[in-house]
Assembly symmetry: C2
Homo-oligomer: 347 residues x 2
Amino acid sequence: MAALTIKDIARICNVSISTVSRAINNDPTINAKTRERVMEVVREFNYIPNNSARNLKMTESNTVALIVKGINNPFFQGMFPYFQKRLEDLGYQYLLHTVGGDADEGYVAEAIAKEKRLKGIIFLGGKMNYPEKILENIRIPMVLCSVAGLSHEDNIHPRVSTVSIDDSGEAHKVVEYLIRKGHRRIAIITGQKDDLTVGRLRLRGYRKALEENGIAFDEELVGYMDDGIPEFTEANGYATMKKMLESGTEFTAAFVISDRMAMGAYKALYDAGKRIPEDCSVIGFDGIEMTRYMQPSLTTVKQPVEELVESSVQMLMKQINGSRERKHLIYDAELLERDSVKFISNS
Amino acid sequence: MAALTIKDIARICNVSISTVSRAINNDPTINAKTRERVMEVVREFNYIPNNSARNLKMTESNTVALIVKGINNPFFQGMFPYFQKRLEDLGYQYLLHTVGGDADEGYVAEAIAKEKRLKGIIFLGGKMNYPEKILENIRIPMVLCSVAGLSHEDNIHPRVSTVSIDDSGEAHKVVEYLIRKGHRRIAIITGQKDDLTVGRLRLRGYRKALEENGIAFDEELVGYMDDGIPEFTEANGYATMKKMLESGTEFTAAFVISDRMAMGAYKALYDAGKRIPEDCSVIGFDGIEMTRYMQPSLTTVKQPVEELVESSVQMLMKQINGSRERKHLIYDAELLERDSVKFISNS
DNA sequence: CTGAAAGCGCTTACAG
DNA sequence: CTGAAAGCGCTTACAG
């Protein structure tokens, strides 16, 4: 009844547990025939080693953990396969761990690092509001990928490298693009009112672009995400756009800071009898697959997923190999011009 | 440099490691003041116990694992929060583990069960083609939720309970609905040609409904998913629908066996100059949030997510509490009548 | 090439 | 209430 252990296998094979261990771990010093004999028993009895014991004993693994805040973000979901492939190609075990919105990813990271003897950690998403305090105790290489709130003005902990896009800058480009297309009444659907991450940064870029172009910032044109609906979802985009439409504020274009929300916004516009882009242009953000299939296909900002992944992995590898260099890389996103934005003349 | 252990804390506090352990685990026999003194040090040094050691020593945890095959399925993703909530409400730790398409979920389950001293396992998705062999060695309570290929004709391992919908029956209902709406040339976009899971089952229901209504099954109307594109994605639905359209086969309605694929199919139809539902009706499957926001909103089959979750958890709890009863529950899905299906008259 | 022994970092009877 | 000791299931020097 009790689960099979290495002792049981040893007894059955009439060898020591050392030998069983060597067989399982493919130790080069073991006799090939002994190994085969042991492995046959292992297979026959379906013996699986206890990983807790293994991890406890081993001084190091070759595992890298990807710690994700917000599993519901399809943009992150799209990154998983890339991380997995790159890491496995490099011969590392890949461990995906998701943390809930309320959990402290620093604590979780530390706990897993101990438990699994991690070689390194890549944080994906989240806020890292208190990098100093949280990161202080994590002694292994780590990289923050797409972690918001790490713009240049913030002081970043000297032990971490970061890879991200320039959220504020990209938002700025989006708004400049809309302005070039003749829009002046430009709405934004952004994060919650108290947001401290991408919502805040993208809103900042929006505002800056407006001001640089002599367009007064108008609080009426800012739609804050509804904090009673899950973040970044279609439902939230729908509700927020609907509220703005009902408020009577006029605008000819809307910058929605996530693609899923843009999909909800589309629906709200259609429900109000508006056509896209004839009556209202829409731009999304992230560049997830779905946007190609929206009707009309969504003009959006495509995050450089492969570069973000590649670069995160490379920086982690450097640290694992002893480099003490830390970098803070910013990659350019790409504006995908599709069919949801219309040129209007201001005559 | 080396990570902090319970010994270090004991030394610093001038107590035994037993006492530190008792403080951390909130053992009722410990003196409140001692406990506080220890915990202060724990906090100060940010000590985190090694879970491997813990798991190794403890004879049981109160952890339940959710093992998911195919993290990319948004339908499953939508279920996570429900599982988490139910399990945590019941006082269990919840562990989400995803396995890749190639991995053997039985092996993985067994390994985690050992490592974490699991109380139970819920499998979500996947095929479980060889229930006998795989499940033989897992000695802890387990429930299969939405695991395909477990229709009544298959012989299910006596140690497992299952919760699912009737894929074939629901597909049957979809097609009957389309027939009632006047359609006779009904296409289906289903799984890959060699699919043995939901694709096969839903195709079977489609075929049966046709035949019962005196409509000859026409292989031309079956669009098998493109096996060169990730499964169940918009891109795959787009490519498959496009191919069908280009083949020149005529149809007035299409049953697409996943909502995401239906989104891709929409686009292919639009690209071909067709209107939905005027020129072609479309029905999806799953009932994910996005479908409400499609244009037109998608008529689809909503899987009873909450019931599937609730029931899976309840059956697992019964087993954990000693019940030897096994059930195979089938829940009804709900046809969400929205705007993508049109009534046509056959005059 | 193989085995006996130490020890990874914890928890938990058992004494006191 | 606290401590000394055993032991969870492994891996890995160290002998032989």
